[in-house]
Amino acid sequence: MAVKKDYKDQKLAEKLRDRKYYVSESNPEFTKDVEKLGQTAAHMCYQCGTCTGSCPSAPRSSYRIRLFMRKAVLGLEEEALTDPDLWLCTTCYSCTDRCPRDLAPTDAIMAMRNLAFRRDIVPRNFLQTVQLIYKTGHGVPNNDANRAARKRLGLEEEPETTHKYPEYLPGIRKILDHYRLKEHADRILAEGEKP
């Protein structure tokens, strides 16, 4: 009797099952955008799966970097950008180091995340980092317990960064405002969206 290769977990099997895609679902511009932003020739991918085999996120989730590469090449923008797994890449670059086509799947993921953000699809924690940097210059700012520890070590309470020299903050805010990043983050957070 022929045994069908499948996952035991029904949800996982459903998600990762082979299916047909139609030209009408494809946006060729998406492929170009991913290649430009990610600075990698994604269309050279021959789907060997070395990337998924190298991926620390793959064995513990339905995240499959090979499928994301496929979707990037086929222009399946909607599928790729609305999949919450897009945000499970730890950007470890193991796939990139092992890719026999010398591609950078990691950077293709980064590009797709950028494109998702342009459509307001983004997890909250990414936006909170933007707000913290806008406010303090740091993604992980100082706090009172740490100030006390620094003092104990003979260090100044505030490190020689924007913390000690807040006069540098307006310049940082100007850069972020140039790209309207804070405004964008604030708006999405206010609308309470989450993929």
């Binding site: 499970l88 997890p123 740091h138 993604g139 992980v140 990043l181």
Partner: protein, 300 residues
């Protein structure tokens, strides 16, 4: 002596100065002992975090990292730093801007608004690679700086991802089975130990720690289990974010999965500090989530 020392602008990042200040204190003192002066890079910001920040807008990531680079250019100095995440932002953006005119012009257009210009005159180094480089420090000189050898301790090395990978853009060579950090550990008298899948990620990067903590911790848990299997007294790394993930992560793993590891986590600069004779207090090792005491008992 300090006149002939190598001087660098010290890029602090966020997690070292703001969560593990002992790493900052150690870096300044340990590097001085081997002929490196780390000078304050005034007004530096977050690198900004390559995963959390680069994921949403790479162009802002380039511009923000470029601002930090310009601060060092204005000091006419190269940057030295102590975090793999910072290395990815600061080294990689520097590399991209030096080799991509279109990108550099775009960044400079934005920097003009704050009266800055990126020129590409500074280089960026991780302190660990300066320690390994015989032209700057080298393993021999490092070993000579040791006052209290870490003899009898077994130490696992976690290289982290963003220092050496992607290999084709970097200059570290082999990213499958590197051994240079083991040499750095052996120079202190400790025994570096090999464990399964040592090049695996800590799990925290790419914004995953913030997005799906259980997923990130599951990766961390696998690494810690692999270390435990060969019996280690501590794990060392050169990335405060990996440190946070391994250190606080062990408490979170216990809470979420019920698994207890108790492997002390030490940044290489903290390890070097101990070997050069700094006291646990001078390194604020009490700030670590996992008790470092069992490791100290082995070496003190």
């Amino acid at each position: 002596m300090s006149g002939s020392n190598h001087q660098y602008a010290f890029f602090l990042g966020c997690i070292a100065p703001n969560r593990y200040p002992g790493i900052e204190a150690a870096a300044v003192r340990t590097s001085k002992n081997v002929g490196i002066d780390l000078l304050p890079l005034k007004g530096a910001s977050c690198c900004p975090a390559p995963g959390a920040f680069g994921s949403i807008d790479l162009y802002v990531w380039y511009a923000m990292a470029a601002r930090n680079l310009v601060l060092a250019e204005q000091m006419k100095m190269d940057i030295a730093l102590i975090c793999n995440g910072c290395y990815k932002s600061i080294w990689e953006v520097n590399h991209k801007l030096k080799h991509n005119d279109e990108l550099r012009d775009g960044v400079n257009e934005v920097l003009k608004e704050i009266d800055m210009e990126y020129k590409g005159t500074a280089d960026v180094w991780h302190l660990a690679e300066l320690y390994y480089d015989p032209k700057i420090v080298g393993v021999k000189k490092l070993a000579e700086s040791v006052r209290r050898p870490l003899t009898g301790s077994k130490v696992a090395v976690h290289y982290g991802c963003h220092l050496m990978k992607p290999a084709k853009e970097r200059h570290f060579g082999n990213t499958e089975t590197p051994m240079w950090m083991e040499e750095l550990v052996a120079a202190l008298g400790a025994e570096p130990v090999q464990y399964r899948n040592k090049m695996q990620c800590c799990g925290a990067g790419g914004g995953v720690r913030g997005y799906d903590l259980a997923h990130a911790l599951d990766i961390t848990n696998e690494k810690l289990t692999n270390m435990e299997e060969v019996g280690v007294d501590a794990v060392t790394e050169v990335c405060p974010f990996c440190q946070l993930q391994f250190d606080r992560g062990q408490l979170e793993i216990k809470e979420k999965f019920g698994t207890e590891h108790r492997i002390p986590v030490l940044h290489y600069n903290e390890l070097l500090g101990l070997a050069q004779g700094m006291s646990p207090d001078e390194l604020a090792l009490d700030l670590h989530a996992v008790d470092v005491e069992p490791f100290l008992k082995k070496i003190l």
